[in-house]
């Protein structure tokens, strides 16, 4: 444990906004920032396995260019030169984009994801590729084709998943911030396990172009950061309409960072759904953390609204039908023909079988099979169509709830980080997603903010959920709670 404690120390500057200030003041350079992070990574990542790839040379070349821009007074805004780690399922031209899967070995992305293009336009640097559950399928980053990632608070424990690598590198001071993706909790749950901030924005706020699809109607890119302000900063950089994504929402770019400068917390109504506290297996410390947060909001003058979300008991079932169905189709393209690894045989069918057998791990196969089944002839209506209808009811529950409150408070995960290998039954693992999946089903926004610790010393996250496009409200609620926690 003492060894592990060292892993969560963060060098200074430890956030994007601190680094931006230091760069502006000339107290540091992009090269110095990156060198510090790379050095830290060399020291600690062997124990964490948070990066799947970190090309120091290429990063330092980018950093030098940024410093040259700044010296010439031509920096692309305040964040020029600040590195951001990227989950291995976001496309960057010329880099691998392996989704931590062996099946994509040898594949080089030929284009930038829109979110990546926006980071680059702001002068920010792509800082390595973080480990993840293969194709974002998992809640522990144990399903990586490149070895599991570990929790920096206790390397016997998982960092959560699927953006476990992103969360772990930020928590262990190897990166200032990271982008991850969240299909059913894949940003929020690892953020909570690693004691950092993780946000899933409204579906359609950040373009999905260049995010390797797991479940298209649920996937969203989002920030994993050291604090709430950084989440707002990254959101300002990467959000906005994109004509390459038909599901992108045409909105005015928000100024989320500025929204944290001045607000009245007492004006927010905090919703507390009864169903959230009746979940089987909810750890007492997690319950206490959420209750403490509720009391704090009450004391600050917030109205606390009792809610009911009757569809709560169905959300995991709905999620696993819809997500796996879409995944079975999205992952059909990995066949070894056009890119990636191929198991060569002299028959095309045989090549498909062998390539996919060798390239996918067990959880991926499990979900492809489940998804294929629920779409197959004769079962579509009973599973997929019914799940889509129940999804409508889930959305309605949230729409109704947001008539009565501004932010819904809830746990992120019923338990804090568990030990590697501790949960082997897939269904048991799936049921842990109960607090996070409904947000994706409804397309709302949500943020996980560290609040309190478990008896075992591991961090706990509290989730704040907002209606679609109400990012400002949850960012303010989280920013305020972060102040209370510190």
């Amino acid at each position: 444990m003492t060894e592990d404690k060292k892993l969560v120390q963060r060098p200074k500057p430890g956030t994007i906004h601190e680094a931006a200030a230091a760069l502006a003041d000339g107290q540091t350079t992009s090269v110095a920032l990156c060198e510090q992070l790379i050095e830290r990574s060399r020291a600690v990542d062997a124990a964490i396995n948070g990066f799947r790839q970190l090309d120091a040379e290429a990063i330092l070349r980018q950093a030098e260019r940024s410093d040259a821009r700044r010296t010439a007074g031509q920096e692309h805004g305040p964040y020029d030169g600040i590195p951001v780690a990227l989950k291995d399922n976001l496309a960057v031209t010329g880099e691998s984009c392996g989704c931590a899967s062996r099946i994509l070995e040898g594949y080089t992305a030929a284009y930038d994801a829109t979110a990546v293009a926006r980071l680059k336009a702001a002068g920010m640097l792509c800082f390595g590729r973080t480990n993840m559950d293969e194709f974002a399928m998992g809640s522990s980053t144990e399903n990586s084709g490149y070895g599991p990632a570990r929790n920096p608070w206790n390397t016997d424990c998982v960092p959560g998943g699927s953006s476990g690598g992103s969360a772990a590198v930020v928590a262990s001071g190897q990166a200032l911030a990271a982008l991850g993706t969240d299909t059913g909790g894949s940003i929020r749950q690892p953020a909570s396990f690693c004691g950092i901030v993780g946000m899933k924005p409204t579906y359609g706020l950040i373009s999905r172009y260049g995010l390797v699809a797991y479940a298209s109607s649920l996937d969203q890119i989002g920030p994993l950061t050291a604090d709430v302000r950084d989440a707002a900063v990254l959101l300002d950089v990467v959000s906005g309409y994109d004509d390459r994504d038909s599901t992108s929402i045409p909105t005015q770019n928000g100024n989320f960072n500025q929204a944290l400068d001045n607000y009245d917390i007492g004006s927010l109504r905090i919703g507390v759904p009864a169903e959230y506290f009746n979940v089987e297996g909810l750890a007492p410390h997690v319950r206490t953390a959420v209750e403490t947060a509720i009391s704090a909001y009450r004391d600050a003058g917030c109205e606390i609204v009792d809610l009911t979300l009757p569809t709560m008991k169905y959300v995991v079932a709905v999620y696993y039908i819809i997500a796996t169905a879409e995944a079975s189709s999205n992952l059909a393209r990995y066949d070894g023909i056009r890119y990636g690894a191929r198991a060569s045989t002299d028959d095309v069918l045989e090549t498909y079988y062998k390539t996919r057998e060798a390239g996918f791990n067990k959880e991926t196969k499990r979900r492809i099979i489940l998804g294929t089944y629920v779409l197959s002839s004769g079962y579509y209506d009973a599973y997929y169509l019914r799940a889509q209808k129940v999804r409508t009811l889930v959305r309605k529950d949230y729409t109704d709830a947001f008539q009565k409150c501004d932010v819904i408070i809830s746990p992120v995960s019923p338990i804090p980080a568990f030990r590697c290998g501790e949960i082997s039954d897939p269904l048991q693992m799936y049921l842990m997603d109960i607090y996070t999946v409904p947000v994706n089903l409804a397309g709302n926004c949500s943020i996980s903010v560290p609040f309190g610790t478990h008896a075992n010393g591991l961090p706990i996250g509290v989730q704040l959920i907002g209606d679609a496009l109400q990012e400002t409200k949850i960012l303010r609620a989280a920013h305020w709670l972060e102040g209370v926690g510190n």
Partner: protein, 106 residues
Amino acid sequence: MEPTTNTDFDVAYIADLARLQLTDAEIAEFQQELDSVLGYVKLLSEVDVEGVEPTAHVVTRNNVFRNDSTRETLDKSAVIDNAPESVNGDLIKVPLVIGEEADGVA
């Protein structure tokens, strides 16, 4: 939750549809695990969905189109370099398409 057996669910058949080759041990394992998952998701059958429209998208905007104008294409070398095998750097090489599948479907 007691694992429920779903006799309709045949892992081997479904895996074949998805072009996944599984060992006998994997088939047995997935059959048991996924029977249990399917048993769980059956709880949706108790929901009254009469007259409820399915949700395919959380945000629905109709007619999101693009203009019929060209955008940049990839360099052929990038396409060929990404392919595991090529025919003279020209076509993407694939094993012979034979048997039942020989005529495609579309």
